[in-house]
């Protein structure tokens, strides 16, 4: 029986998968566990009434499990692991927080107007730590087996690469060879291809964030 899931549609293209990395994480989990699902694409600029009834705060992603609509990608992924334990994606505790600071360091660097505020360095440091981990543990964060940590990190790395490249002309340093192999591995996977947003939507999704207040220069 197919599980119903609501995810963000692309901005300006309501029939196309959108740019929410947390939505993609949930879809990747469904794909890897081979759980059949029915996808509802939600136009976040004009949310349908039926959607606001099941998700009053308008949150995406939401998924229907046991007749209840559940929000929060962390909670959703946890519940899917409980209900559909095979194949298991649960990471052992000691790798669960690998790469956990990468996304927020990316956001900070993206928003930074001051090239000397250390935010670029912070991104490099977080990526270097991941690279080191992959060097001794690869190809996945938990070694041979893909796990929930990879499925959470993959969409975020995709956003990081795409957005920092587009807005700052920045790329992940060549010297971090294990990260390059890792992203290649993750992004070439069929289920990643199937669940990702096209690059132009990823870029468009972050673009308005560059303009925060009217007193700032917008890119």
């Amino acid at each position: 029986m197919a599980v119903e899931v609501c995810v963000k549609a692309a901005t300006g293209a309501p029939t196309v998968l959108g740019d929410c990395p947390f939505s993609q994480r949930v879809l990747l989990t469904l794909e890897h566990k081979k759980i059949p699902y029915e996808l509802h694409l939600i136009n976040t600029d004009d949310k349908p009434q039926w959607f606001l009834e099941i998700s009053p705060e308008g949150k995406v992603p939401v998924i229907k499990i046991d007749d209840k609509w559940i929000a929060d990608s962390d909670v959703i992924v946890g519940l899917l692991e409980e209900k559909y334990p095979d194949p298991s994606l649960a990471p052992p505790p000691h790798v669960a927080s690998v790469g956990s600071k990468i996304f927020s360091s990316f956001v900070k660097f993206l928003k930074s107007k001051d090239p000397s505020d250390g935010s670029e360095q912070a991104v490099n440091e977080e990526l270097k730590a991941l690279d080191e981990h992959l060097k001794s543990n690869g190809p996945y964060i938990n070694g041979e087996k893909i796990s929930a940590v990879d499925l959470s990190l993959a969409p975020k790395l995709y956003h990081l690469e795409t957005v920092l490249g587009s807005f700052k002309g920045w790329t992940i340093p060549e010297s971090l060879s294990h990260i390059h192999s890792y992203t290649k591995l993750l992004f070439s996977d069929k289920s990643f291809e199937k669940t990702k947003a096209a690059k132009e939507y990823v870029v468009a999704g972050w673009a308005p964030k560059m303009c925060i207040t009217s007193s700032r220069i917008c890119l």
Binding site: T44, D46, G58, D72, S100, S104, K111, G205
Partner: protein
Amino acid sequence: MSSLKLLGTRRSPFVVRVQIALDVKGIKYEFHEENLSAKSELLLKSNPVFKKVPVLIHGDHPISESLVILQYIDEAFSAGHQILPSNPYDRAIARFWASYIDEKLFPSLRGILRSEGEERKNKIEESIEGAALLDNAFVSISKGKKFFGGETIGFLDIAAGSFLAFIEAIGIVYGEKLIDEVKTPHLFKWVHDFRSDLAVKVNLPATEEIVEVLISISKASAQN
């Protein structure tokens, strides 16, 4: 001692308040993580008026509203370290500012997330002003000591400090630091001292987690 059960979510600043206070007082309790899109029977039964977290259940008695809970545990467990000041006037001041945080500062912070464009700019300004007011109050309340509560963290430190992960995440996501060396010099130092407390280290969520929550919220809303 009767059983103590706390119903909550790890990321809610209101829940974090209770966790920090219980740890500061050295009180053992059982934590029950709620799923807010599928609230437990126990939560609905224990807080039928608001159906919100945190709820502290002491034996058979449920207590709701974080500031009420903090004062309850100080009174119910009066043998140990007290988090409210001993002097009635100091207590009144602490309650006033905790109330200010809940009634004015928190709605401004939440307003930043829920608004866009010009309205968001206003909410940010409001929050910055609120933080400055609190910074000013710190001078007279702390009486030259490290915390609002004096030498160790107290009721008002906990009431305010539980929001630090959100405040810092807002700074990262919206590019506006609400607490910094220039605008709020006393709070800036206080943050460092507050975060060094063990009960805080254990219970305050990581800022990067809250950054993800804020981004997730903004991806789900129109306009970003």
